[in-house]
Symmetry: C2
Subunit: 789 residues, 2 copies
């Protein structure tokens, strides 16, 4: 008996994609302006395509290699099915498709926004946010569509479309993890590669163009200028899109895995109107509802007055955002009440099975929504123009670059305090409400607004580009004023968007971590075991070294760009006079190749370390359960350290950036107004140089690093662990221990804790043994011995 | 029956202190030079005394407050004895005494080294290293003396000087932990306060003196110059001394705690020639032997030729160092063979009791010695003049301060890679050899060379000061040349010394962590429990925020110093002409007060967080064992993150420093020799400004942070945990579960894992139940039910 509800998320995803297509064609129909505007825009579009083409070539190689590896594993390991390869490939393709879509629409929307800004600010907002909406709905729609379709396919393939038991469903979800792995692998390329790309092009263009050749920023004579503009889209649009696509898929997957274990805790089967898989369908349903809600939310973003300023624009975005969040909360309430059993049993580790009402799952989703909202405010506080931390960095700029850098570092470091307390509180609260299922659903609820978040995010770089095009094509000042209003709001949303991405990565990783533990069948990860503790250390080190590699990569790639730009200035005749055309595509190509090459080492480290930890000890005959625990320690180390370094680097980078920007309007230092060009401003520029790779390369990469690490762990998990307690112990008949107890409750706990060593019997019928004391039982057993010997 | 061996470490400590006293009087008898030299030296000495006096006042208040708190706890909590207060006070006093001694001798030795350098380099080395030796032996001697004396006292007080049982010994060691807590608390003040002091004075002196007034460095007309010189001693001599004093005591204590559990694992009592406490006495014996070995080692440090250069001086130090390490290895071998039972039983978590030969404990000590040696090489590689990482930073200086800062940060971050792999390997190996007892003894063996290490360390700032005095008193160039040779070697040893301090802190914390787990009686720390995971996150955040607070503190304190120096230049007539005397003491006082005030917030955070985590959930009625696990998660988070940030900050700071210094001799950039005063050099100076608080304030503070956190945990442990499995379960008669099994071995594991929930019986007599199947047992039980109801 299968409910139609399983198809609902697909329907909602398709509705979202249809709305996206309509919106897309509306945006494309807008006036894309005249001669010079169009020319610049076309260069950016072609550059973006060049990047995508180069990227896809490399990705194809990568996908083939990993597919072969997965196929080999699926032949060797009986618990891994070959279909995981199919899921992996589709995950990769869908993620790439989402990025492709976003990049294209963003590079088409920018010039249309400039054109609209000539006459109307409300229209400019409508178009630029429309482009963002296309991006957001594309990512969310494809994520839900792909994941749900594969789930239904595997559900029919492995289980015939009907609930059989927890172990079969585990195989379904393990295979589905391939989809998530594919998506996250592409995210690694998009985020890290994109981060290196954008900063290499930026530095290359500035150093040779501005400093050496003395031509202004964004000058078409600079061969690297198109690469620079492409970079903004590559990093902020495609990178962020792939990042959130990965989070969306992984979060829902992890919640489904934990939903499966809720059913197991309730006795292995439940009866509901959803074919007995309500707890597994719930996260998908929330994700599907989130798409429709985001459509509604985006429709609310509009302003009426042509004289509106930043607060009105920000207000319009806030209305859309908050309505989305409230609607998600309401839909979570409805869905939880509708889809979950009224009371459920959950196994709280160390406390045994507990009966909890489904309302507690709803409370857990509220925790997730609160985290999403609060982390944005925290990020805004530590990086926002005019806030106390930024003013302090500005003050410290007056005593030189050294003190500016120290102040920026300290700001980023201190910002970990409220952020980590927020995460820790969220873990605690959502777990207290509904176990790790609650943690995963908190993440799912937060991620339900992804389409809306991404629309707000992508809107930023679109307006940034629109302003650039206005400047380069020498529009009237009013056009630039209007795009500046949108751009200023976009800067704020870009910072808060990064906070949201970190929070989503953190919660997603925790959910994956919990799913990992249940997949492997271990009872927990005990860091008092020395090998586990050692791996916790190693895991903690990885994000630090990864960040350093990413930062060094930017340096190397930038130097190549510098050399190429110098070469073109030297070799192409008439380039400075505007009669020779620079070879834009060459710079784009160099930046692309350098980016993809330089991200190989951190990429290999990310993928290689968990594999080495899992398989090298296996060669030495180490116990699989011990390895699983070690790998878990490694994952925890990467997650904890990665979240810290993500917050630290993103906020420090954002703070330096805005400290520098503060000088544009002028700042008060020691009672004197200080502007651009002052020594203090130069010091602030140095700080911003340090912050650039922090906030655009290494910082955002942390999100992918922690999610991908946990996902690889999840994919390895079935190889390490038996599927379940039943599976392992049924072959384990030589080690029988009978546990008899006065209270059924106590026995359950004992059972769980020794499940890998002993087989325990179900002993409900022994509950009346209460007053039988030790001596008496022993006497019984003594008696029992005699006939046996 | 008590062995005299218990007194041996005291004897060795006293011998070491006697040797120290002899060395001290020899150093003091050396010629302290003439007029100006003496004058400058006296100012530094008085400044140091001024700092010590101010520090002691604040420390007295702190000690009184903590003593009262401990006394209250000891009245409320039956497992905590009032004598812990006495131990705490003495620990604090001994640590302060050791720091006092070191500061005094260092500030007396500097001028004597300058004087000796007038005629003889070998003599200058002999005197400066003699001063270092006094410091090293003072610290090590007092540590061993204090710890051993208190152990003997408590051993007699609580156990009558004879082995009774594990639980009594646990009380002895818990009370002894007070000594360690006292020592580490003082270290917090010395390291953090000292770090803030030295950088505040440095920046203040440079900014007003060099930049504003245009007078050279170390000019006596600069009111802050004495504070600056005092700062070198406060940070590098007293801070390092207190740090290693704390590590020394904590390591030996932790090893003793774990030795006690070895005896427990062996059945609760052993028979040996050491009153049955050989495994507990062993770490003290190694520490005692280390003192004598260090005396021998220091005697080997000498050069003969007056024309010797850096390599010869470095060679002389290396001879002393390596001989010490080899002698420690030999003495470990002898002591292990002599003092430990030939085969021992140890409880390897998750693998049950294992028989191991005592030789494996010896191998564990070798692991510790290797770690100590290798970490120094790693540090030397990442921070040493002429090494690849430094050359790269130098190259990156040519493109500005921004790229220099990025390169320095990246170097520090990448240096965590080999360091963490080394630590992880050491944890794994020493645990594999001999469990956590092995980890603690690895740390003990490494720390046995503390006196020698500290002699080498303290020698650096002494020579640095000696050079400064030579410069200020306008000696002939040959004098400065000779002190420069010593100073250059001192710079290298300072960097490697920091590596040693980090390694010691890391291993010490791990040993304390292991001791904590055994004290609380929990079975491990399972990060799959959400509250534990949340605390792992919070713990990981603390070192980051602590570092930021320390960095900000330097900034604030420096500004106060700047204002005071400006005031003196303005208000004291004739100061610039040399006719008015600057009020040196005022600057010293300001630096001191600011340092001690500014370190309060990070100090409160360090002490407060574990206390809040332990006691707030208690108010809400949370289970003590659950709290103990949470606190353990917090400790692990602080340790992992703290070690990472210590390596990162120390090595980045050291690398920037030497990149800047590289310009003094000139460096090749893009084929051109580049020197001081170039733009690249200015960029390198900016990097060094950032690195200063990294390497002298926040970086070294991490050592204390992680050790103190683990020590506070250890002191709280008895409040949280029952002492032992016997203690908790004997009150737990309502929850009886009988575990019956065919193999005794399997049962033991099961027993351990459920010990806090159920009471398990010893069931050796059921081993013949092998062929009794489930149904039959159930039938037996059914029968048993009837008469009960």
């Amino acid at each position: 008996m299968e409910s139609m509800m399983i198809y609902a998320p697909i329907v909602m995803a398709v509705l979202g994609l249809i709305f996206m297509a309509v919106k897309r064609s509306w945006v494309m129909k807008q006036n894309s302006g005249d001669g010079k505007m169009k020319e610049i825009s076309d260069y950016i579009y072609e550059g973006a395509l060049a990047f995508l083409n180069a990227e896809y070539k490399l990705l194809a190689v990568f996908v083939v290699i990993v597919s072969i590896a997965l196929a080999v594993v699926s032949f060797v390991v009986p618990t891994t099915h070959i279909l995981i390869v199919v899921a992996f490939v589709f995950g990769a393709v869908f993620s790439a498709l989402a990025g492709n879509m976003g990049m294209k629409i963003a590079t088409k929307t920018n010039v249309r926004t400039t054109q609209a800004a000539k006459t109307s600010l409300p229209n400019a907002l409508k178009i630029s946010f429309g482009g963002g909406t296309v991006m957001g709905l594309g990512v969310a729609g494809l994520a839900v569509l792909g994941l749900t379709a594969f789930f239904i396919f595997f559900f029919h393939f492995f289980m015939g479309g009907e609930w059989t038991n927890t172990m079969d469903m585990t195989i379904v979800l393990e295979t589905l993890a391939g989809f998530s792995l594919g998506a996250e692998s592409i995210a690694l390329f998009a985020r890290v590669g994109g981060g290196i790309y954008t900063k290499a092009a930026d530095v290359g263009a500035d150093l040779v163009g501005k400093v050496e050749a003395g031509i202004p920023e964004d000058d078409p004579r600079n061969p690297a200028t198109i690469a620079d503009n492409v970079g903004d889209n590559v990093g902020d649009v495609a990178g962020m899109g792939a990042d959130l696509f990965g989070s969306y898929v992984a979060t829902v997957l992890a919640a489904m895995v934990l939903g499966n274990y809720v059913i197991k805790d309730m006795g292995g089967a439940i009866t509901d109107a959803f074919g007995g898989i309500g707890p597994i369908l719930l996260p998908m349903a929330i994700a599907g509802a989130g798409i429709i809600i985001s459509v509604i939310g985006t429709m609310l973003v509009k302003i009426k007055s042509n004289d509106a300023k930043e607060p009105q624009v920000m207000g319009a975005l806030n209305v859309g955002n908050w309505v989305s969040i409230i609607l998600v909360a309401i839909s979570c309430y409805v869905l939880v009440i509708w889809m979950l059993p009224k009371t459920m049993k959950m196994d709280f580790f160390g406390e045994g099975l507990q009966e909890i009402s489904s309302m507690r799952v709803f409370y857990a989703t509220l925790v997730g929504l609160v985290v999403g909202a609060v982390i944005s405010s925290i990020t805004e506080y530590y990086t926002g123009l005019g806030k106390k931390p930024i003013l302090k960095i500005v003050q410290q700029s007056s005593t030189g670059a050294g003190t500016n850098v120290i102040a920026g570092l300290a700001t980023g470091m201190i910002s970990t305090f409220p952020s980590v307390l927020l995460f820790a509180g969220a873990i605690w609260a959502s777990y207290a409400f509904a176990g790790f299922y609650g943690v995963a659903l908190a993440a799912s609820a937060m991620m339900a607004t992804t389409a809306m978040q991404l629309a707000i995010d992508a809107f930023g770089p679109i307006c940034d580009n629109a302003g650039g095009i206005a400047e380069m094509s020498e529009q009237e000042p009013i056009v630039r004023e209007r795009t500046d209003i949108l751009d200023a709001v976009g800067n704020t949303t870009a910072a808060t968007g990064k906070g949201f991405a970190i929070a989503s990565a953190a919660l997603t990783s925790l959910a994956l971590f919990a799913a990992y533990v249940t997949f492997t069948g271990i009872d927990g990860i005990n860091i008092f075991k020395a090998p586990v503790l050692a791996m916790l250390f190693v895991g903690g080190m990885i994000p630090v070294v990864f960040s350093a590699l990413a930062m060094n990569a930017v340096g190397k790639a930038a130097m190549e760009m510098v050399n190429e730009v110098r070469r073109q200035f030297r070799d192409i005749p008439g380039i400075m006079e505007g009669t020779g055309t620079p070879e834009y595509a060459k710079c784009v190509d160099i930046s692309t190749k350098a980016a993809l090459r330089e991200m190989l080492l951190p990429g290999i480290m990310t993928i290689g370390f968990p594999i080495v930890i899992a398989f090298v000890p296996m060669l030495f005959g180490m116990n699989n359960m011990a390895i699983a625990e070690m790998l878990g320690g490694y994952m925890a180390g990467v997650t904890v350290s990665g979240v810290l370094w993500a917050i630290f680097q993103n906020n420090a980078g954002g703070a330096w950036d805005n400290a520098k920007k503060s000088f544009e309007a002028g700042v008060m230092i020691d009672g004197k107004m200080t502007y651009k060009g002052s020594d203090a401003h130069k010091a602030a520029v140095t700080g911003d140089t340090v912050g650039d790779p922090f906030k655009d390369t290494s910082g955002p990469s942390m999100n992918i690093l922690i999610k991908l690490t946990c996902l690889i762990g999840l994919v390895i998990a079935p190889i390490l662990g038996g599927h379940d307690i039943e599976a392992t112990t049924s072959e384990d008949t030589t080690e029988e221990v009978y546990i008899l107890n006065s209270e059924a409750n106590t026995v359950v706990v004992a059972e769980k804790q020794i499940k890998n060593i002993v087989k325990s019997t179900t002993i409900a019928e022994t509950s009346s043994l209460k007053s039988l004391n030790e001596t008496e039982v022993r006497a019984q057993l003594k008696d029992a011995e005699t006939p046996q010997n």
